[in-house]
Symmetry: D2
Subunit: 320 residues, 4 copies
């Protein structure tokens, strides 16, 4: 992977993007949450006990699929982030006691909630409006952001996702191994693939999109990071209308990169997370569920409760 090339590409993107004056009006969607002015959980409110039971009923065989990737040196990273794990010492501690016990621990540093398989919480993305950074439910960064963590929208507020999961295998539907970087996934693509899979969405689902892009992970990191196939704004809005709780994909940004409109940066993140309170999972490994045509399953993910964090690492699972 050439970090330099990626950095150049991103720098260019940022440069181009930043030269464009803000033209997109916030639109008619307001910042107010449908769950009330104090709500910090967004679409996680859709995970009701009834939804948990609906998910549970999908478990027929007891087979678990791990959708999370290993966190390791050399994995693709967003420019500027790092991940480091070392084992201190030889061993870390001991031997002590007449039983000569020894132990290891690990020293980890990095943007832990935003590297590798990552969960985007509601404090991750916002919009600058009139000099103020506005996040989900209208919360203002100047009022909740601190150097030691977010006082609102921290990932510890999100709770746990035990819900129905749906895989939409767009690559499979289109009959390709991998959608090329930049492929825009449309509402029609999602609907047609769902129809072929004989699956319908329902409120509170987690929707995971298989693009095949994940096959590049640790194989061709440069191509992996160069961009991604993904949903455009139309499909994002349709998913929001279906009242999903979370989206996810086997790519780093979920949404298509480069963006449909080169002057707009990460619009789907902004729409789904900041306005709709819909969470997002990135850098998933969906190869096994796609190969086994597991389109509907019990989905489980419990974000690590790093207080005030914007995201979380983890190993989301599908159970059939």
């Amino acid at each position: 992977m050439s970090i330099v090339r990626i950095l150049s590409a991103v720098a260019l993107l940022i440069f181009v993007a930043s030269k464009v004056s803000a033209q997109t009006p916030p639109g008619e969607s307001t910042w107010a949450s449908e769950w009330g002015a104090d709500d910090e959980r967004g679409a996680a409110n859709r995970i009701t006990p009834r939804k948990v039971l609906e998910a549970t009923r999908l478990i027929k065989e007891g087979r678990i699929y791990e959708l999370g990737r290993d966190y390791e040196a050399g994995m693709p990273l967003f420019p500027g982030r790092h991940y480091s794990l070392t084992i201190p010492g030889s061993p870390t501690g001991g031997p002590i006691g007449s039983n000569d016990v020894v132990w290891h621990d690990e020293m980890v540093s990095g943007q832990i909630g935003q590297v590798g398989t990552q969960f985007d919480g509601l404090g991750h993305v916002g919009t600058r409006v009139d000099g103020e950074d506005v996040f989900y439910n209208g919360f203002k960064r100047s009022e909740f952001g601190t150097s030691g963590g977010l006082n609102k929208l921290g990932v510890e507020k999100a709770g746990v996702f035990v819900t129905r999961g749906v895989l939409i295998d767009v690559a499979g539907y289109k009959g390709v191994e991998r959608l090329p970087v930049g492929t825009v996934i449309t509402t029609a693509d999602l609907q047609d693939a769902l129809r072929q899979q004989s699956v319908e969405l329902s409120e509170g689902d987690v929707v995971l999109i298989h693009t095949g892009h994940g096959a590049l992970w640790m194989v061709d990191n440069e191509e992996y990071n160069r961009g991604a196939p993904g949903i455009g704004m139309e499909a994002a809005l349709w998913l929001a209308e279906q009242k999903v709780a979370m989206t996810g994909a086997d790519t780093w940004p979920l949404e298509v990169i480069p963006s449909e409109d080169a002057e707009v940066a990460f619009p789907v993140h902004q729409e789904l997370i900041a306005r709709r309170g819909i969470y997002n999972l990135e850098n998933l490994d969906l190869s096994e569920v796609a190969a086994d045509k597991v389109y509907e399953f019990a989905f489980m993910f419990a974000p690590v409760k790093f207080k005030g964090a914007t995201g979380s690492p983890g190993n989301p699972i599908a159970i059939k």
Copy 2:
């Protein structure tokens, strides 16, 4: 919390312990795993699809209990470890694009797998034998330990724990809010409490022990860290005989501290993890499940796949 006092206490413990020459013979339990010479998963092998289905059938209401604690500055830590989370920048990135998107991430450092609610993997604890550090299944540190992670027994090998969970409320059984530091929990205590709860253990269960010690968390960190009530070696061996997959408690060490034999350091860790391949969860919040008398439940925990790590943070859950 006086870190200095804790450090002093631990230093004293270490000093005393290290002065004792190794007297405890490894005993009759061998280092060989019952799952074969190559096995790196230990008691996680007991989580079969059938066990997953057994757990699933316990979900009747769809109610989720979060057993994990927030990770935050000021939480109790084992001496020498740290946890730091900061949010870089103002905000971390942006605004970019005509849509003026902004974003945050978080910089985290620390012994992430071994702070706060923590999962002890099989690379965490071993025993020095004839100058070599021996871990689960006889794997030798000199052959799998590297500065960048463990080549054997890394937490990414453990897989996912979806299984039957059993709470043993020893504090409740004894009619106290909190068992004092140093209280040895015996096999009889566990059996009597289980009988009162009308619950029996079965192979592959996760067994969580409520001592009430967790009420000290962030309230009296000094007392929390000074020691703990917990199982002694007798109870540990009994749990191992029940073929549990994992133990856990609302304390930092699971086992009783100070140890029953002052010359022996963390013998239960050594027995359960290193010899039996049984995993362990520490610093759980069991107050709600105990209050609601949720003694049997579907348990779920998916360790973060930090490659080569000894443990994992996370938010284990109980569903009833």
Copy 3:
């Protein structure tokens, strides 16, 4: 040291302070630098080649005094900061080659420029004025602050301090081992001590103040951190008039804590660093130079060029 108590004290201070509305007008001192509108070096401009030669001429014996402290676990820290050093591995690398070379490195994390013996650069302290954070020479945080480092006033711009150093032994002058926490050091104190020492200040000097407070370091960290003796605003302004390049002390804040006016937080930092461009060194060990009555010396300190950092660790030296 009780971190909790310190945190409480600081929290209280912050609470009290933040309740007070901003009453102090910026005063007549403007934000403009005497070294021009683009200047990012402040009083480091006073270290001219002529000043280097003046310092050099003070070296008569070739004896070096180290004024920096060891960075180590357990040292006093400002609330919220940490310092961690671990040695990865066993060893970190090797053996490789037919020569079986092995090596160690170290993993360090923390607020490295602002822990232990620390150098305050010009990006460290500023003032909020009409919603904008204004730093030395009027530079605005909104224009130079980024999550990855400061684009203005980074410590790498400061250059190197080879200059005349002057020790003012206020504790010695007052005939005490240690000035109590909260002792305000006045202009008269500085002038009288200098007169007793038969030393005068000149432009570009580094002035180090011995209070004896440093004797508490790693001995009574709680008292060390509780506050400090130090200069008040009057003495700070007098030092600024002497056109010194840098101040320093054997305390963590240089200035007196609690402040003379309880409603004003770190006013001396604000005045000297943000308005005057005068650097500052904290947590020095001045015991040896004071004991040996080394009042005038060649002073040398080269900040580590962490690009965009606010400060630097290091080991400043005095040579006589």
Copy 4:
């Protein structure tokens, strides 16, 4: 820079090297230090007050040359190491007080003593002999290495280097801008260049070698990291005989890479640091002193006293 390519190259080197059985006998040089069995300072003992005065007398103009580089994202790194600096918050702290003070600090992580401009202390490099890692003066890792720092040979023991510095401009002598990667610098090269410069070495000097390789820094990191011109073992031994205190270069390894003998890894490090106690500085910027033909100067470097560390960052200086 392609990290992957570098990692591959290093992996290959390690693979090749590790396949070769240890053939090189430790030779006749013993492990014992000439400064006594307890010595932990090595050639720093050569920096006497007399030597400080000798250095001081070389200061004629008071002009300072900074030989240290900026530490920044994207700088060349040894495989497996990282450097990260972020500024927490917006700002990090404040405003507090009626004076509305605000402040920044920085969060740094990385192998701080062994990234960027770096100083190799005596705990950095050793040799495995009969299963034991032996360092300077025969100190054994098993006796001084701990997970939290080295109990012997820590960089805080090295003291301060104020001494005569000599630049040997080998690139200049050979009439080239830059010696190609892999160029072996011989004793004759050093002697001839010194003769041309009309400079002789003396005991306790710091000897810095200009190869021109430093021009690749942040310009062509891949080529910079691929290898380096540098001294071979013959020149290393000659420098050791001259009783220098420290070596240094504008390359990452000082010594020639690939090594003269492909089966031997970093033999010069092993010889100079581990056997001779001679320190080393890497990744220097020697372009200015070379351009100005500053061959003899007062050299100053005070390692940061990270207790138990193997090295130090810093900004070494030359003064003429």
